[in-house]
């Protein structure tokens, strides 16, 4: 057997990858480059094709068309065991009949490596569970099994490590801790990680680059900050965090800015952040970018008058307001509780303002609610 870990390396290149199951197209002409050594997340709601994409890279599904390359090596039709790719499965899929040591040694032994002890001990130390080597998987907690599944994969030093919703079965606190640990381990071992998840927070915490997937295609790809601050589609704006999307018309442009009219209010936004195809635009503002003041207060930047608070939730670090605007739209406003001023109350008349540079513009023909239905369930 050849040493799979050295047989191919480099960027992972998916080109025109398509997978159909009967009439259903799970992955639709997907092209993507995953840079070597990066932590890459495929983020999307269930059924968006992210797991199918992962399984094609692992070799567990055969593409209908398109190719998968690692560096210069075409692995599209290689068998799973021939690929320098290892997977951390969603339910871990540890071998119940083998000890933890033998679980981790499995891949090394299959590649004909005789002396496995040193390498196995090393990864057991990396995941901080050296004392569990002789146990069986069913004697471990969920979090411990998760780490062993990770150890079993990275001990092979694959060109590419795939993680299929690796933290989905853990409780919230453990999940947070493992997010930090996974990121640390990735930096430590320097392997390319491709992480599939429906949890936007998980993706944003760990990944260098996120590709947001919807209906078998990539909606947008970029760093977490890029995607959050400058979403290009309503789906991304709503799926990644929350957004207020308000209908407007671009009236004129002034240098690097567009002047947009929103129900009689004139606001300004950077041209570089507008993705509208014509004058009709959806003006996007993240809830925490709004400032909220009692009506009549002098404010700067973009200003929307005439709001009335319809709901207040105090959640400690911030207060979340629902503000009903004169055009019957409810806007979300998150205000940090850092100024010692008591929160405003339901029924108060308010004015909203924000800095023009925080505005993003989407095409006016988009469905303003796209992606908000598909928002990750907090399971």
């Amino acid at each position: 057997m050849t040493d799979a870990s050295t047989s191919a390396h480099g960027d992972v290149i998916l080109s025109h990858l398509t997978k159909s199951f009967g009439d259903f197209v799970a992955v639709d002409d997907l092209s993507l480059v995953i840079p070597e050594g990066s932590f890459f997340a495929l983020l999307g709601p269930s059924g968006c094709g992210k797991t199918t994409t992962l399984r094609m890279i692992a070799g567990l599904e055969e593409p209908t068309s398109g190719t998968i390359n690692i560096g210069k090596t075409d692995i599209t039709y290689q068998k799973p065991y021939q690929r320098p790719v290892n997977t951390v499965f969603q339910n871990y899929a540890l071998f119940p009949h083998l000890s933890i040591f033998e679980n981790i040694a499995f891949g090394l032994r299959r590649r004909g490596i005789k002396d496995v002890k040193e390498q196995v001990d090393k990864v057991l130390n990396l995941v901080e569970l050296p004392h569990l080597a002789e146990r069986k998987p069913n004697q471990l907690s969920g979090g411990q099994q998760q780490r062993i599944a990770l150890a079993r994969a990275i001990v092979n030093r694959p060109a590419l490590l795939l993680l299929d919703e690796p933290l989905g079965a853990l409780d919230l606190k453990l999940r947070r801790q493992m997010q930090i640990e996974l990121k640390w381990i990735q930096t430590e071992v320097g392997l390319t990680f491709v992480h599939v998840t429906h949890d936007q927070e998980e993706a944003m915490t760990m990944a260098d680059t996120i590709a947001v997937m919807n209906e078998g295609q990539i909606e947008q790809m970029g760093s977490p900050a890029d995607l959050y601050d400058n979403p290009e589609t309503a789906f991304v704006a709503n799926f990644l965090g929350q957004s207020n999307l308000i209908k407007g018309l671009i009236e004129s442009s002034d240098g690097g800015s567009n002047i947009v009219s929103i129900f009689g209010h004139k606001i300004s936004m950077p041209k570089s952040r507008s993705h509208a195809e014509d004058a009709s635009v959806l003006v996007g503002v993240r809830p925490e970018k709004f400032r909220i003041q009692p009506a009549g207060t002098q404010m700067s930047g973009n200003i929307l008058n005439g709001g009335v608070i319809s709901d207040v939730s105090y959640i400690g670090v911030s207060t979340q307001y629902q503000v009903e605007m004169p055009w019957k739209q409810e806007l979300m406003v998150f205000e940090q509780n850092d100024d010692g001023v008591p929160p405003l109350s339901k029924g108060d008349a308010v004015t909203l303002s924000w800095e023009p540079i925080f505005t993003f513009g989407l095409d006016g023909k988009e469905d303003a609610s796209a992606g908000s239905e598909a928002h990750p369930d907090e399971d």
């Binding site: 057997m1 799979a4 692992a58 070799g59 567990l60 068998k79 799973p80 065991y81 790719v85 290892n86 997977t87 499965f89 339910n91 899929a93 540890l94 071998f95 119940p96 009949h97 499995f106 891949g107 299959r110 590649r111 079993r152 994969a153 092979n156």
Partner: protein, 288 residues
């Protein structure tokens, strides 16, 4: 106070009440016959044929073994071959039903069990027809010259082993299916992901995980096959007699109750010892 105590007592009695029917059944139909078997086995003939007196003649056991050594060995040989063949036939079948059958799964399972709807005896008689002179099997075998023009299949060891294999096949298939079905297919995917090809995945993951089914299936086949006499009776000849036939003849034809009892007891103990050794060897003690 007394009421609470009575209630507590009743609570403590419940497990015994639930166990009672089974225990009574076992006492009546297992412990008592075994005891009778043991006492009969050391008796010696009395004045009239069929009369036996208890003389604690343990040499009966030695006589029994010496007299039926060939049939004893043959029983285990046939049972072993039938079990091995059964495993070879059933494993792929159970594997296909568990992993590859899709929506046909239930239909296939019903088909596996279907032979049980007719009697064991009838099915064995049917094999006389299948292997008989007018049967298709013999025509095909003669056609390809695997069998001479005067060759026959009934009344041969082949027919006996074939009958045993067939009759106990469901006992092999069902436990195998049950244990294969419980395997998470993702462990097999994980094995492929960790550089094991299909054969290695089978050897290192699927087979070890299905061992409980292999052990249960082989036991459920071997034990009844070793004690069977119907297949040898209907499909064999005098030189294919198994231990079951000997016991049958001693009881019903020779009316040698002590000899038959001694043989039955030896058969039971031998099988019990073999099963214990086997289970220890297979490392599936949790089955016991």
């Amino acid at each position: 106070m007394a009421l609470v105590k009575a209630r507590l007592n009743r609570k403590r009695l419940w497990p015994y009440i639930l166990l009672a029917p089974g225990l009574i059944w076992l006492m009546a139909f297992f412990v008592t016959p075994i005891y009778q078997l043991l006492t009969t086995s050391t008796q010696t003939p009395g004045v009239n044929i069929g009369d036996y007196i208890q003389t604690y003649r343990f040499a009966n056991f030695i006589d029994a073994i010496v007299g039926a050594r060939a049939q004893f060995l043959r029983s285990f040989e046939y049972a072993f071959i039938a079990t091995a063949l059964g495993l070879l036939i059933s494993y792929p079948l159970a594997y296909a039903i568990a992993f590859k059958s899709g929506r046909w799964k239930n239909t296939l399972l019903v088909l596996v069990v279907a032979p049980f709807f007719t009697s064991f005896l009838l099915r064995t008689v049917a094999w006389q027809q299948i292997l008989g002179e007018q049967g298709l099997v013999i025509k095909v075998l003669r056609g390809v010259h695997l069998l001479g023009a005067t060759g026959h299949l009934t009344a041969t060891p082949f027919a006996v082993v074939a009958g045993l294999t067939y009759n106990f096949l469901p006992f092999m298939t069902l436990p195998l299916y049950a244990s294969l079905e419980r395997i998470d297919p993702r462990t097999m995917e994980a094995s492929g992901d960790l550089y094991a090809n299909a054969f290695t995945t089978f050897r290192k993951v699927t087979l070890p995980l299905s061992m409980p089914g292999v052990v249960a299936g082989t036991l459920l086949t071997f034990i009844p096959a070793a004690g069977d006499y119907i297949n040898a009776e209907l499909l064999g000849n005098p030189s294919t007699k198994m231990i079951g036939n000997v016991i049958d003849a001693r009881y019903l034809q020779i009316v040698d109750y002590p000899g038959a009892a001694a043989l039955s007891f030896i058969l039971m103990v031998t099988i019990l010892v073999m099963v214990m050794l086997y289970i220890r060897k297979a490392g599936t003690e949790e089955l016991l």
